[in-house]
C-alpha cells in the first residue's frame, strides 16, 4: 500500500541499522516523545534491532497517560448527571480515575459515548437539544485544533447545550521539564511528528539552544523511527545540537497556520499538573475568556479536588524515561491491561501496555536490570 509499505520496508530498515552501527562509538540515551512511536518500536521490536549503545526511553507523549486523575474523576462525576451525555475518545474510557473509569460509569447507567472527533459530539448536541453534551477533550497539539474548531462552531452557531472539559496539553513544556530535572538521563529527543505538523518546529529551537540536545522531528513508521535515531546519533557523535526534521513529508517549518490561528483564538496557556511530572507552567490549553461560556468546568460549577495516585504505580518515572515499564515491580503482576493501576497500562499508546502486549517480561522474572 502506497505511503505505508515503503516506510515498513525490511531492506531500508537493514540499511538504516547498518548506518547507525557504522556511526555509533559510545552509549547514548534517546527519548521518543510520543506514545504512537513507542507503540511502533515495541510492535516491530526496533529496540532489539538497534546496537546495544542505543537506549530508547519512552516519553510522556501519551495523552491519556498524562491526564491527571482529578480531571478523570471530574469527567466521571459529570457523566452521572441526569440529562447529560459525556463524549470522549475511545481509549480515554478505560483510564482509571480514583474509584472507577468511564466504562464503569457507563455500565452503571451514565450516558458515555465514544466519538472520533469533537465535531461529532457537537453534531450530537445539535441533534439532541434537550441533552447537555460535554466533550472531554484530551490530547496534545495534534487533537487540540479539532476541539478549537468545535468550540468556535458552537459559538458561531449559538449551540446552547455543548461544552468541553479542556484537558489538552503541550509537548515543549514536558521536554523542558524532563531536561531540567536533576535525574535526567536523556541526551537526545525524537519529537512527535504529528504535533509538529500542527505547531511547526520553531517551538523546539529555544530548547535546543538552552539545553544543547538534538531534537529530531520524527514520524511513526519503522523507517521513520530508525532514520530519526540515525540523525540523532549522528548529531550526538559529532557534538551538534540542532532541530532537524525527519518527517518533512508531513511537517512544514511553520506548521499548519490555520490550525494554529484557531487555537490561538480559542485557547490560552495555563499551568497544569501532569501525571508523573507535577505542575508544569504554561503546559496546558484552557478556553480563553472569549469562549469561557463553553467551558464545562465553569458551566457546571465543578471543582477539582487534588487526588493522589496509587503509590504502587510508578508511571511518573516511566513517563520521564527513568524506568522501563518492565522494571516496575507492579508490571505484569498487580498491574495488567485487565487490572491497570495507571494510565500507561491502559492506552494502546501507553508504554506499559505496549510492553505488556508485546510479551516483554517483567525484570524480576527475567533477572534483567
Amino acid at each position: 500500500m502506497k505511503f505505508l509499505d515503503e516506510f515498513r520496508d525490511a531492506a531500508v530498515v537493514r540499511t538504516l541499522l547498518e548506518r547507525i552501527r557504522a556511526t555509533i562509538t559510545r552509549p547514548w540515551t534517546i527519548m521518543e516523545v510520543c506514545g504512537g512511536q513507542t507503540h511502533t518500536i515495541v510492535r516491530y521490536g526496533l529496540d532489539e534491532l538497534l546496537p546495544r549503545e542505543v537506549t530508547l526511553v519512552h516519553g510522556p507523549g501519551c495523552p491519556v497517560c498524562v491526564t491527571p486523575i482529578e480531571m478523570i474523576d471530574l469527567a466521571i462525576e459529570l457523566s452521572k448527571r441526569p440529562g447529560l451525555t459525556l463524549c470522549s475518545f475511545g481509549d480515554m474510557l478505560r483510564v482509571p480515575g480514583s474509584a472507577c473509569d468511564l466504562f464503569d460509569a457507563r455500565a452503571a447507567g451514565a450516558d458515555v459515548r465514544v466519538v472520533y472527533s469533537p465535531l461529532d459530539a457537537l453534531d450530537l448536541a445539535r441533534r439532541e437539544p434537550s441533552r447537555e453534551v460535554v466533550f472531554f477533550a484530551v490530547g496534545f497539539e495534534t487533537t487540540a485544533p479539532t476541539t478549537a474548531m468545535a468550540v468556535h462552531q458552537t459559538a458561531r452557531l449559538k449551540v446552547p447545550n455543548f461544552s468541553v472539559i479542556a484537558a489538552h496539553v503541550r509537548v515543549p513544556p514536558a521536554i523542558e521539564a524532563i531536561l531540567s530535572s536533576d535525574d535526567n538521563r536523556v541526551q537526545g529527543f525524537l519529537a512527535a511528528g504529528h504535533v509538529c505538523t500542527v505547531m511547526g518546529i520553531d517551538e523546539y529551537r529555544p530548547l535546543v539552544e538552552k539545553f544543547k540536545v538534538p531534537i529530531i522531528i520524527t514520524g511513526f513508521e519503522p523507517v521513520d523511527l530508525l532514520q530519526g535515531v540515525a540523525m540523532c546519533v549522528a548529531q550526538l557523535e559529532e557534538g551538534r545540537a540542532e532541530v532537524e526534521n525527519q518527517y518533512a513529508r508531513s511537517v512544514r517549518n511553520e506548521g499548519n497556520v490555520t490550525a494554529r490561528d484557531l487555537m490561538a483564538e480559542v485557547f490560552t496557556f495555563v499551568d497544569r499538573r501532569w501525571r508523573g511530572l507535577d505542575t508544569l507552567p504554561k503546559s496546558a490549553l484552557a478556553l480563553s475568556d472569549r469562549y469561557a461560556a463553553y467551558d464545562a468546568i465553569r458551566r457546571f460549577g465543578l471543582t477539582q479536588a487534588p487526588t493522589n495516585e496509587p503509590i504502587e504505580c510508578r508511571a511518573g518515572e516511566v513517563l520521564r524515561g527513568l524506568l522501563k515499564p518492565t522494571q516496575c515491580p507492579a508490571f505484569g503482576s498487580s498491574c495488567t491491561p485487565d487490572h491497570p493501576l495507571g494510565a500507561p497500562m491502559v492506552s494502546t499508546e501507553g508504554a506499559c501496555a505496549a510492553y505488556f502486549r508485546a510479551g516483554r517480561l517483567a525484570a524480576a522474572a527475567t533477572g534483567a536490570k
Binding site: L4, A108, D111
Partner: protein
C-alpha cells in the same frame, strides 16, 4: 469518520457480540461506580468482546454453574454420540447494529454463523432453529426482508430452518431485533477434529483475507466513508469444509475467527492444545481497504471479526494438499499458510515481523479502542 458512536462499543468484535444497554434509562443521579476495574460487579460491554473479559465471564459465571464434560471443552459446537452417529450442536445470538451492512444483514449472518460453527466442527448441517426478539415499532417490511435473507442464506448452505419462536418486547428494550439460531449437524464417521490433535510442526492455514466483516459492519454503523466499500465476508463454510475433508489431508482442528478475530482463535487453539504457534505477519492476507481502515482507526486487523473465514491447523506434510482443495472453492480461493506450531509446553502465540523480530500476540482484554491520535 463522521458519526458519533452510540451505545455500541466502538469497534472490535464487529459481529455484534455487544450487550444491549437496557440500563440506560435508569436514573443516573442514583448511580454509583462499581468497584475499580472494568470487570467489577456488573456486566460491561467488554464482556461481549470475545477477549479476556469474555473468557473470564464464561469461566466464572457459566462454567462454574453449568460445567459438564461436553461444555467444558468450549468448542464451537458440542459433539455427542447418538447410536452410531456423531451429532454436533451449537447456538449463537446475533445483536448486530446496523441490521444491514454491505454484503449481508442480521438474517444471513445468523444463518451463516451457526452453519459455520457446525462446519468447523466437521458437521454437515441437518437443520437450524431461529428465535426472534422483536422490538415494538420494527417495520414488518424490514422483518420480511431479513427473514427472506435468512431463507436465501439457508438455501445457499443447503439447510432448512425447521423450528422457530417469536417474542415482542416494548419499544426501547431491544435494538430493532435480536436473533438466536441453533443448529444440529452430523459428522462423517472418519472425521476426527479437535485441538488435542494438534502437534508440533503442524501448519496454520487461513481461508482468505481477514477482517472484512468487522470493518464492513463498523463502517456501516458509524457512517465511515472510504473510497471503496468494504464488503462483509459473511458466507456459509460447510461447502469449503467438505472439500477440505475430502482432500484426505490430515486436518487436526478448525475454527472460524469471529469475535476477537484470528489472533483470538489462534490463542484459544494454543491454550487448549498446550502448544506454541508462530504466525508470520507478512503471510497474513489483509485486503488493502481493510488495512487502510485499520490504519486510520488505530485497529489491528488480527483482532477484527470474520464471518466467512476459517483457520485450520493441518499436518505440515498435507498442508499443500489441503490448500489445493481449499483454493478450488470460491470461498477459499485466497487460502494460504500463515504460520506453524513451533513448540509444546508453553501455550502462547508469537508473531514474526517483516524485520525478523518476534513478539507475543496476546488476547485483548476487551474490545479494541480507537486511538486518540
Amino acid at each position: 469518520m463522521r458519526r458519533v458512536f452510540s451505545r455500541r462499543p466502538a469497534c472490535g468484535s464487529g459481529d455484534g457480540g455487544e450487550v444491549s444497554d437496557s440500563n440506560r434509562n435508569a436514573s443516573p443521579a442514583l448511580l454509583s461506580c462499581p468497584a475499580p476495574g472494568p470487570e467489577g460487579e456488573v456486566v460491561v460491554l467488554g464482556h461481549g468482546s470475545g477477549g479476556r473479559l469474555t473468557a473470564e465471564l464464561v469461566s466464572k459465571v457459566f462454567l462454574s454453574a453449568l460445567s459438564n464434560p461436553i461444555l467444558d471443552r468450549l468448542n464451537d459446537s458440542a459433539e455427542m454420540k447418538v447410536g452410531a452417529s456423531r451429532i454436533v450442536f451449537t447456538t449463537d445470538s446475533f445483536v448486530v447494529s446496523p441490521l444491514r451492512f454491505p454484503g449481508g444483514d442480521i438474517g444471513s449472518l445468523a444463518v451463516n454463523g451457526t452453519v459455520n460453527d457446525l462446519a468447523v466442527a466437521g458437521g454437515q448441517p441437518l437443520g437450524l432453529s431461529a428465535a426472534f426478539i422483536l422490538e415494538e415499532g420494527l417495520p414488518i417490511a424490514e422483518l420480511e426482508a431479513i427473514v427472506q435473507s435468512m431463507r436465501t442464506a439457508a438455501d445457499r448452505a443447503g439447510v432448512a430452518i425447521i423450528a422457530a419462536d417469536t417474542k415482542v418486547v416494548e419499544h426501547g428494550k431491544a435494538d430493532g431485533l435480536f436473533i438466536t439460531t441453533s443448529g444440529i449437524g452430523v459428522v462423517a464417521g472418519s472425521t476426527e477434529l479437535g485441538p488435542e490433535r494438534i502437534q508440533v510442526g503442524d501448519a496454520v492455514l487461513v481461508s482468505g483475507p481477514i477482517g472484512d466483516h468487522g470493518i464492513s459492519v463498523m463502517s456501516a454503523r458509524e457512517g465511515l466513508e472510504f473510497q471503496t466499500t468494504i464488503v462483509s465476508d459473511s458466507a456459509p463454510l460447510n461447502g469449503l469444509v467438505s472439500l477440505m475433508l475430502e482432500s484426505g489431508g490430515a486436518i487436526r482442528c478448525m475454527r472460524d475467527p469471529t469475535r476477537g478475530g484470528v489472533a483470538t482463535v489462534i490463542n484459544e487453539l494454543a491454550k487448549s492444545s498446550g502448544v506454541e504457534i508462530l504466525i508470520e505477519e507478512t503471510a497474513m492476507p489483509v485486503r488493502d481497504g481493510v488495512r487502510a481502515a485499520c490504519e486510520i482507526l488505530g485497529l489491528d486487523p488480527l483482532y477484527v471479526a470474520c464471518e466467512g473465514r476459517l483457520v485450520a491447523i493441518v499436518d505440515s506434510a498435507s498442508a499443500d494438499k489441503v490448500l489445493v482443495a481449499m483454493r478450488r472453492h470460491s470461498l477459499g480461493r485466497d487460502s494460504c499458510r500463515i504460520g506453524s506450531v513451533t513448540g509444546s509446553g508453553a501455550s502462547r502465540v508469537l508473531l514474526r515481523t517483516a524485520f525478523g523480530t518476534t513478539r507475543l500476540l496476546d488476547v485483548l482484554a476487551g474490545a479494541q479502542l480507537p486511538r486518540i491520535c
